[in-house]
Amino acid sequence: MVNSYRPTTLPEALKLMETRDMIPFAGGTDLMVKYQSWKGTLPRFPKDVLFLNHIPSLKKIEVNGETLAIGAGATLSDVIDYPRTPDILREAVLSIAAPGIRNIATLAGNICNASPAGDSICALYALDASVILSKSGGERELPLPEFITGPGKTSLGRGELLTEVRIPLKEANLQVFRKVGTRKANALSKLSFSAVAEIKGGTIDGIALAFGAVGPTVVRSKELEKKLTGKTLEEIKVLYKDIIDDYSAMIVPIDDQRSTAVYRKQVALNLLKNFLESGLLKEMQ
């Protein structure tokens, strides 16, 4: 038998988290599937449950200076509707499930579920997002890649709650999100691709490339991105084959019930090539 708690303020929630080991529950759209049992019986939650969807302060989305702050209670629909949501995040979130689910599921929940196929996560990696982890008496900020440690695994500590997602709002004249799903809507990802770049005066001022569902966590390499930064069109053309080879070495997907490793890898590279050829190189001309 598990207990459930429904705090209405964040301090109250954090205090509860301090006292016992609980599963934070926001929209519940992943948790209710994960722990579902026979019709007419209770879901099989292994621990007490903390409901977060009655804490008004967590629902806030706002811009502070050059940072977008999305509260852990903000739903996917809220994120879509917010005017300053970066385009690729909006696209990624629009590609998740169907309107009914998006009206209750949260962005924070999508992150904490830490699925390799989590669609928002791929875009958030490319956007350099970080998360705020709060506990009674303090909070810490972690870059997203440090928070998500493996399939379904995060570095959320005992007593901590993910309370906010932060996205630096940078200039980016190129933004691409592609999801390859099992069908056109209400589908899980076979893979996804996010790219963000700022081109200034014919050279790459900044670039981020992220690949989802092709590894245990999102694949992104700051090292390879550094190699591209500051380069001109001509230099990129020379580097082109190396770039593809470097990413090819990093992308090591698996076979599962939704797709194959061979397909995932090939298509991820195709999307990268397509971004380089018809996105980046064109923009630099």
Binding site: S37, W38, K39, G40, T41, L42, R178, V180, T182, R183, K184, A185, N186, A187, L188, Q257, R258, S259, T260, V262, Y263, Q266, V267, N270, L271, K273, N274
Partner: protein, 710 residues
């Protein structure tokens, strides 16, 4: 007159279903009910060594083969009675019923269920057609794993092949397909009037009656089956309900209390019958002028662990195996193989889609080899009235394929586009031609079904019709009312027609095989004519009508020779696609269909059948992947077993070509399965046109298309 009946009316069930008022089996309240959970095999092939059941509290029951009454039999009396109600000493597939655990509290049931310990001695399983044919792990059935084999021969295929200038060959495979009806399997058994009653979501109340009474060892009428509003079926509620109704009936017979057995979705996808996978090899013999002189078709379908209706499915696959073509010399061979997968069973089309997929793909590929466009080549071989069929009878239909092709071509621009896209690697257009025999094969309506319908005058201006056929979303309750009303000069809303109850309705047969409008509708039409002559006898006047096979159609079931079907529906599908060059994802940009269903009984209902059938066929062709891993269906959630949504395919542009059938009501023919048959080959053909490479297997996934390019 025909224009009158086809005019759309509001479906009698529209408001109840759209508003949520309609009551499905889960919505009923049977009072103090017990819940049942199946104790299932977790092994694909094993001997059961022992079963340990925990001590059960009062009011909890464990029901297994030992509870079958002495005069009964531990067999489900389907077309073949090989499938056991409860496994005894061996299991042949994962999910096989071993027992029922029953009690009032579901939480308690789950905890008791987890305490049941079964020890097995595992044996090596066979899953695929190849493993079955090779008798991997030893034969499961007989000494060769073959449930049955048939051979149909027309002309002299041996000589045709001996004299052939060239032979073109291809092997085509289709996979499992899950029905994914909106309402999962479910039923409630009660003890009322000193006998077992079953309230079921089902297509065939009398099939359930036969199975239940057979296992209990009682007369048919000693069990009552009441169909309740059924949320979809597609063949999935043809035989499978027997598989749960019989153990449920054994339990109710023992406990004498109401018991509910309703599947959850994952349980339903994991442990119900699917469409038979197939492997079909076709060889075509051509003479020096590139004319087809002969053809051999070797069909194998995967029947899974028990035979059930597999041989009847196989027969239909063979009878449709040569498609809409007149091939002078042909040999169609068919085998059904036993494996350790969940037994395969009925699914919209009943074998025909597998056969038609293979022949349509093959004919397109032969055309390509000969440097011709598919439609130009296929049209040369269209069967015509008076031509000889594969079962050596003359084609009795007036075949309007040419007129239908002209309509399809005009609507879709097929002939122009196939030339335009010839060298375009990203655009393709495909076409398929099919027919589908309405009603039971051969003289089955006469020999097996013997359908009876009854009607009664119930008021000044009202009548009731009594049939065992069910509404399952296809519109039958509206269409049969329209047919009766037309003869009686009444409004269709003045006709009463309830969900069938075996205590009340005669056995007009199962709701399967595209027979309900064509065969049962005709019986209603004729019965209504009789009732009209008795109308003046006043309220209570009754009429009854029995099926009589038209004497011009002859059939020998032992040799499968003669008129396989009295008439066929005919169909053409054109599908246009574009492929994404980076992801190999295929987008369907146009769907055009032309169907000859005799005369449509209601334009909107028939268009609903076209939309649903075609999109279901496109799902089968493109995304509905269903693999077996360790004997379990790998895609067993709705997240992984995906079917098309409304955004996956564009709206279908359809045209009906009238071609009335004289033994159909107002000229109607069977339509419910025909509308499924043509979509998969049209889609796969479109993709192979753009890829410039032959496609042999469905589903045609982006993963497969990428593989073609290598």
């Amino acid at each position: 007159m025909n224009d009158e009946i086809r005019k759309s009316v509001r479906r009698v069930d529209a408001v109840a279903k759209a508003s949520g008022l309609a009551k499905y089996i889960s919505d009923y309240n049977f009072g103090d009910i017990l819940y049942a959970r199946l104790v299932r095999s977790t092994r694909p092939r094993a001997k059961i060594i022992s079963i340990t059941v925990p001590e059960l509290p009062d009011g909890y029951y464990y029901v297994d083969h030992r509870d079958i009454p002495e005069k009964g039999k531990n067999r489900i009396q389907m077309i073949k009675d090989d499938w056991k109600v409860f496994a005894e000493d061996e299991v042949r597939y994962v999910g096989e019923t071993i027992a029922l655990l029953i009690g009032p509290d579901r939480e308690k049931l789950l905890s008791l269920l987890s305490e049941i310990k079964i020890s097995y001695e595992d044996q090596e399983p066979a899953y695929t057609i190849e493993e079955g044919l090779a008798c991997k792990g030893g034969a499961i059935v007989g000494d060769d794993n073959i449930y049955g084999e048939y051979n149909l021969v027309k002309g002299d295929p041996d000589t045709a092949f001996n004299n052939a200038a060239r032979v073109i060959e291809g092997t085509y495979r289709t996979g499992f397909q899950e029905h994914l009806y909106m309402e999962p399997q479910g039923m409630v058994g009660t003890w009322e009037g000193g006998r077992v009653n079953i309230y079921a979501s089902a297509q065939c109340p009398y099939y359930i009656q036969k199975s239940v009474s057979g296992a209990l060892g009682v007369e048919g009428k000693e069990v009552r089956i009441k169909q309740v509003t059924t949320g979809g079926a597609f063949g999935g509620k043809e035989h499978f309900p027997d598989v749960i109704a019989v153990p449920l009936a054994v339990a109710v017979n023992k406990i004498k209390k109401p018991v509910e057995l309703i599947f959850d979705r994952i349980e339903d996808i994991s442990y119900t019958c699917k469409r038979h996978p197939s492997r079909i090899t076709i060889k075509t013999a051509l003479d020096k002028e590139n004319n087809i002189t002969g053809m051999t078709i070797d069909t194998v379908i995967n029947g899974g662990g028990y035979e059930s209706s597999t041989l009847i499915v196989l027969q239909r696959a063979l009878l449709h195996g040569i498609g809409v073509y007149n091939i002078p010399n042909a040999h169609v061979r068919g085998r059904a193989v036993a494996t350790n997968t969940f037994p395969s069973d009925a699914y919209r089309g009943f074998g025909a889609p597998q056969g038609l997929y293979a022949i349509e793909m093959h004919m397109s590929q032969v055309a390509k080899e000969l440097g011709m466009f598919p439609a130009d080549f296929k049209r040369k071989y269209f069967i015509k009235n008076g031509d000889m069929t594969i079962t050596n009878a003359t084609m009795k239909d007036t075949v309007k394929l040419e007129e239908m092709f002209a309509a399809a071509d005009e609507m879709s621009g097929y002939s122009k586009k196939i030339r335009e896209y010839k060298d375009d690697p990203y655009k393709g257009i495909g076409i398929s031609f099919v027919n589908h025999g309405g009603g039971f094969t051969g003289n089955g309506e006469q020999e097996i079904i013997k359908g009876v319908v009854k009607m009664k005058r119930t008021g000044e201006n009202s009548a009731a019709l009594y049939v065992s056929n069910v509404e399952m979303g296809q519109g039958l309750q509206t269409v049969l009312r329209k047919i009766a009303a037309k003869e009686l000069g009444l409004n269709y809303t003045d006709i009463e027609y309830d969900n069938p109850d075996t205590d009340i309705v005669p056995d007009s047969g199962p709701t399967v095989a595209s027979r309900s409008t064509m065969v049962v509708g005709y019986l209603i039409q004729e019965c209504a004519k009789k009732l009209k002559t008795k109308w003046d006898e006043g309220v209570g006047a009754e009429a009854e009508h029995h099926y009589k096979h038209p004497s011009e159609f002859k059939w020998d079931q032992d040799t499968l020779q003669g008129d396989a079907y009295p008439t066929y529906g005919w169909g053409i599908n054109v599908v246009e696609v574009e492929m994404d060059k980076d992801t190999y994802e295929v987008k369907t940009t146009g769907i055009w269909t032309v169907f000859d269903v005799g005369i449509p009984m209601d334009d909107t209902i028939m268009y609903g059948q076209v939309s649903g059938g075609v999109v279901q066929g496109l799902g089968y062709a493109s995304i509905e992947k269903c693999e077996v891993l360790d004997g379990k269906f790998r895609q067993h959630t709705m997240a992984d077993y995906v079917i098309p949504t409304s955004v996956d395919f564009p709206q279908i542009k359809n045209r009906f070509i009238d071609n009335p059938y004289k033994y159909g009501p107002s000229g109607a023919k069977g339509a419910g399965e025909l509308v499924f048959d043509a979509a998969a080959p049209a889609y796969a053909d479109a993709v192979q046109q753009l890829a410039g490479k032959n496609i042999y297997d469905i589903p045609v996934t982006p993963e497969m298309i990428m593989g073609l390019e290598e």
